[in-house]
Amino acid sequence: MDTFRGVARLSAMIAVALVVAACQTTSMNRTDTLTTLEDDVTVIVMPADVQLVELTAGGLEEPNAQWTADATGYIHESLKSSFDDLGLTYQVLDLDTLSEQERLQEEELGKLHRAVGASIIVHRFLQVIQVRGSVLVQPKLPVMGDKFDFSLGDQVSVIRDHSGADYALFLFVKDQYSSAGRVALNVVAALLGAPVRGGSQVGYASLVDLRSGELVWFNLLARQTGDLRKAETAPETVAELLSNFPSKTTTAQ
């Protein structure tokens, strides 16, 4: 079990005051039946949203372009081999092939997807949030319960029509690493008993049915291990992100 803290303003009304992730990965399926994909489906991978940052000794977040570029490459490589294992054809959506109009629609879709992801994380995984300045503990939605029922609406058709795919996979990863200076400071802090935060890895993957617009699978990753900076260790993170990914019917048994 790991603990994460964060301050983020999700909207004018919500602030995430404190994030406590209970376990390394948590996945959700739309229904219990969707543990498998149909045999002849195609899945298009949306360009992964990846960000690697370094925590300086002073606690400043310093984005690292080299790490990010490397990690993006490793992630797509690992995804490709995961797809091979799953018996899926690997294809990434190339934004440059979209028309101006399609590009705008794809952006709208991305924004709604982020809003859906935010609601899932806020109401399923966070322990404390602030709404209009009021503190909410475990902001789960009792009506929804454990039901997983989210949609991106009809606008998913832009991706379906462009790519011919049945599903789209969205990926978001953000890694923080402590700088050497911060590691040293951590040691000093630990000796003195004062808390200084280390690095963390958060991300999510979600699978959207492009025929219905529905999210069929969602997987959250939140932990204090994992390293996307190296080709050798990156596949482990991708495997975690894809854990419990629905398998194809033919390979399910």
């Binding site: 964060g6 303003r9 999700l10 002073g58 977040e61 953000k174 808390p195 963390s200 958060v202």
Partner: protein, 456 residues
């Protein structure tokens, strides 16, 4: 500082993480205008920041600095008028392994969000007009700076290290001509050309290491205030470093104005106008006086900026520089947006400030009926004793000056009804519906006419 934010990418771009924005990401024009500036002590521009480029004097023969009667502690030497060379190549992108590339990456992300934010003003004509001015000022760097117009009724503009410039609507509303706007655009371009963001980021990074150590000591020994005082001191030192950048940008921006043929005095005038707006606001509502902080004034006091830029402009003038203002072009280019910005200004609910601003704008454009209409709208919204009469007078003046927009009759009618003059109110509201039969509030206005008719 020990709190980090794994979900930051969900935030709105205009709300770039506070610590990060303050730290480095985005340099802005007027933190001090919004939060109260301050006559902080000034630091001379560090040697080496303005690199001498051979005989770069724009105006030989001008050397005198401190005119009689000015407070010499208020400003640093703004002369001579040397060109300030750019610190970045045309089309340059930092190489991947550098810390600068990291900053750019972050800002590229923010830019993608800004591009689709609800705050962005997406009007190809206005965007191309302002981009044109920027291109003119930035010259060969035209392709490296991207302008985003942002609908926020606060006087500000920002420059991110990757060349993303934000121009806030509160600035567009206050600038009186193209040259005044160019003064701010030039200032922002200078931040880019001089790589101020990365310099500031590195400065903060090194100082924050010290800060974290203070924090730990404070936590362990239970003397939190000590940590806070240390933080305050550290921030003070960071801010004074950035004030030097602001001066450099003011001067370089003014140089760019001159090179593009703008009147350099416009830069000083804009600051003079802001100082006047603040003074008048404090006169109207003494409670509005904002606390002035030495530590958090990341920008030189606006009095100093006004004065330095004036001295430089006079020196330019002595050397024969003349420049254009583009006054009517500017107002024409803003078009209908100016009234949107005036509405946004009123919606802040900061009536003393809006009153001061409108006074200044009316002073400068007494023939402009739109400004009178918005004075009427201000009084109608404030609705204190006597405001209804002030509003009615302002609406009448607007009409006299030839202002014919439908909204005038809406405001006029609603004020008259409130004042008990049903006949005038109904007449004005009917005019409104005649002029704007498709208005989204037509149903409501119909209802107002009906109830007034019923009671009269």
């Amino acid at each position: 500082m020990t709190w980090t934010d794994p979900f930051r990418s969900w935030r709105s771009p205009t709300n770039v993480p506070a610590a990060f924005a303050r730290a480095a990401g985005v340099l802005c024009l007027t933190a001090c205008v919004a939060t109260g500036g301050g006559k902080s002590e000034t630091t001379p521009i560090a040697e080496g920041q303005i690199v001498e480029a051979g005989d770069g004097s724009v105006s030989p023969g001008v050397v005198d600095v401190t005119p009689e009667g000015t407070d010499s502690s208020l400003y640093v030497e703004p002369l001579p008028l040397r060109p300030i060379p750019a610190d970045i190549d045309i089309g340059e992108r930092p190489s991947l392994e550098t810390d600068e590339a990291g900053l750019w990456m972050q800002m590229d992300r923010a830019e993608r969000q800004l591009a689709t934010s609800g705050k962005r003003i997406r009007d190809p004509e206005l965007e191309s007009y302002i981009t044109g001015i920027v291109c003119d000022l930035a010259n060969q760097y035209c392709g490296d700076v991207r302008v985003y117009l942002v609908r926020t009724p606060i006087f500000n503009a920002t420059m991110a290290p990757n060349g993303v410039m934000q121009v806030w609507s509160g600035l567009l509303l206050r600038a009186q001509d193209e040259a005044q706007l160019a003064a701010v655009l030039g200032h922002e371009i200078a931040h880019y050309l001089r790589r101020h963001s990365i310099k500031r980021f590195r400065d903060i990074r090194s100082k924050l290491t010290g800060l974290a150590v203070f924090r730990i000591a404070a936590a362990v020994f239970g003397v939190a205030p000590v940590g806070d005082v240390a933080a305050l001191g550290m921030m003070g030192s960071i801010q004074s470093y950035s004030r030097d950048h602001e001066r450099e940008s003011d001067f370089m921006g003014q140089n760019l104005m001159v090179e593009s043929g703008y009147d350099p005095m416009a830069a000083s005038e804009l600051w003079a106008q802001l100082n006047r707006e603040r003074a008048r606001m404090e006169e109207i509502d003494p409670d509005k006086k904002s606390p002035r902080s030495v530590f958090f004034a990341s920008h030189p006091p606006s009095e100093e900026r006004e004065e330095n830029l004036r001295l430089r402009a006079e020196a330019f003038a002595q050397s024969g520089v003349e420049g254009r203002r583009g006054r009517e072009d500017y107002i024409a280019a803003l078009g209908e947006w100016r009234e949107v910005f005036l509405r946004d200004e009123l919606e802040l609910g900061e009536y003393a400030q809006s009153e001061a601003l409108l006074e200044i704008l009316v002073d400068s454009r007494p023939e402009d009926g739109a400004l009178r209409y918005f004075q009427g709208e201000l009084y109608r919204a404030r609705s204190q004793d006597g405001d209804a009469d002030l509003a009615l007078a302002a609406y009448a003046e607007a009409a006299e000056l030839g202002y014919t927009e439908a909204g005038l009759y809406r405001g006029w009618g609603l004020t008259a009804l409130k004042n008990g003059d049903n006949a005038a109110g109904v007449a004005a509201l009917k005019t409104y519906l005649d002029l704007a039969p498709e208005a989204p509030d037509a149903g409501m206005i119909q209802f107002m006419i009906g109830s007034a008719d019923a009671t009269s």
